[in-house]
């Protein structure tokens, strides 16, 4: 698996996606504390987002009711965050469009151009092959404490958190 900086969404888009959202449905969220999906969801929850777990295997994760699929979620969803195999992304993108989500976020290693195109055509913003937690920490603080090249150049004080 190779990550490419070339496909990165621009900073303004990422800021808009994260600042305009309150609810994140995490598809494929694991209840195991050491799994990356759990890391990311717990982090976003701690930073003020409502995390809605989507996984038919569980009843509840991180203190939130877990739904078997996106269609079962009774409330409005801003970001659909996908922790599934790349080939599973297309039906999830269709579901995301169907429930009126604003943004489709495919995690690191989840690459599916067809899913991306479908969501974009329906007006969703698409972020692909990036981690929601890492990008949040990159833009709003945290990641720069670990020597990661955030590519943020500014002489203004720290950006306020959304």
């Amino acid at each position: 698996m190779v990550w490419s900086i070339k496909n990165m969404s621009d900073i303004a888009t990422l800021q808009r996606v994260l600042s305009s959202s309150k609810t994140i449905a995490v598809v494929g969220l694991s209840a195991d504390w050491y799994r990356p999906s759990y890391f990311a969801a717990k982090y976003m929850q701690e930073h003020g987002y409502k995390v809605i777990p989507v996984n038919p295997k569980y009843q509840e994760i991180l203190g939130e009711k877990c739904y078997p699929d996106l269609a079962s979620i009774p409330c409005k969803v801003d970001i659909v965050d996908v922790f599934r195999k790349s080939e599973d992304a297309l039906p999830i993108a269709k579901e995301a469009v169907a429930i009126g989500a604003k943004h489709l976020w495919l995690q690191i290693g989840v690459i599916n151009e067809e899913a991306s195109e479908l969501a974009k055509k329906s007006g969703l913003t698409v972020v692909m092959n990036r981690c929601v937690k890492i990008e949040y920490a990159r833009l709003f603080g945290g990641l720069h404490w670990f020597g990661v090249n955030t590519r943020i150049i500014t002489a203004r004080k720290q950006i306020p958190k959304p």
């Binding site: 698996m1 990550w3 720069h144 020597g147 150049i153 004080k157 720290q158």
Partner: protein, 426 residues
Amino acid sequence: MTDHVYGFDTLCLHSGQIPDSDTGSRAVPIYQTTSYVFDTPEEAASLFNLQTFGNVYTRLSNPTVAVLEERVAALENGRAAVAVGSGMAAQMIALLNICEAGDEIVAAKTLYGGTHTQLNVNFRKLGINTIFVDSDDPENFARAITSKTKVLYAETLGNPSLNILDIEAVSKIANQAGLPLFIDNTFASPYLCRPFEWGAAISIHSATKFLGGHGTTMGGVVVESGKFPWDNGNFSTMTQPSPGYHGVRFYETFGDFGFTMKCRMEGLRTFGPTLSPFNAFLLLQGVETLPLRMDRHCSNALAVAKHLEAHDKVAWVNYPGLKSSQSYELGQKYLPKGAGAVLTFGIKGGAAAGKKFIESVQFLSHLANIGDAKSLVIHPASTTHRQLSEQEQIDCGVPPDLIRLSVGLETLEDILWDIDQALSQT
């Protein structure tokens, strides 16, 4: 909309620092602290689990050191970096991140003497064996690779032989074998050469040299390109649960900066070669003027090399910027802005004449370092490479008469004057 791409000089001044929200301090604050208070027990647990990004203990991370890390990562156009207490610690942490007992390293035989000893003596004691090859023919790396090989290791410019590695050719050999190429890029600095552009996976610096640039401060940096596929089947320590950090899978969890996170949470945490925050501050001061200094280092060094080449007391001169150099063609490719500050030469009369030269210089400093703003001179066979046998010295490019010069930023006419007056006494 695409993000603006900043130039190298801007990155030298700004990367890694967001002015802090409380004070607005323009200079990078020195966080001279060992530890950081937690808000709650839950937050502390999250930090230890790496579930949130934050500081716990300066052995692992520090906000001043982090600015240096991000800045050097940006200069190398890499994904992430980790800074440590010296260049030697940097290569140790980087190599031990993926090598264990039974593994092999294939390395250029012209490495700096201290590096050669680290691999040939200290790593061998740990059960990690290094095969040293003549790096001037890239195919020698291919011939030495076995099923036990984990990494290829070389310097942009050999020290002190100043042979330039064909980075692109060796990268290709490494990548075909599913192995990363680690490059010690100390002599070039990211201003003159960026190994990732030629396919290297990891770049290592002794920041003590040109990054710091003023001979005040020890430090080292490991930079990760973010492009190496650690899940290709050869690096289970990157993909399997870490026994050293409660089962974290570094590549899966941190992706393209997983190598750096593993260096930090395993290497720095358990071996402990931390960079002091104050030293990080001093190194950052140096990095701000890196492009200006490197341009002057290179123009002064080329002028000194040409002057020595024409001098009737000088037997030979080796500088990759000279057309007479074996590395001239590779230099045009990999170091187009200049061939660096360091050159070597031999005086007619051999080692004895060399000794007399070093005794006779007025302001060239006789010491064991390179990359100071001041001009430096040394006789490696009796100092930096003294631990090697004479044959080993010759093998790694150190004949007995070799004098190494790290040309500084003084007025060029003064440097030439000092060299001439010292040569006249030999």
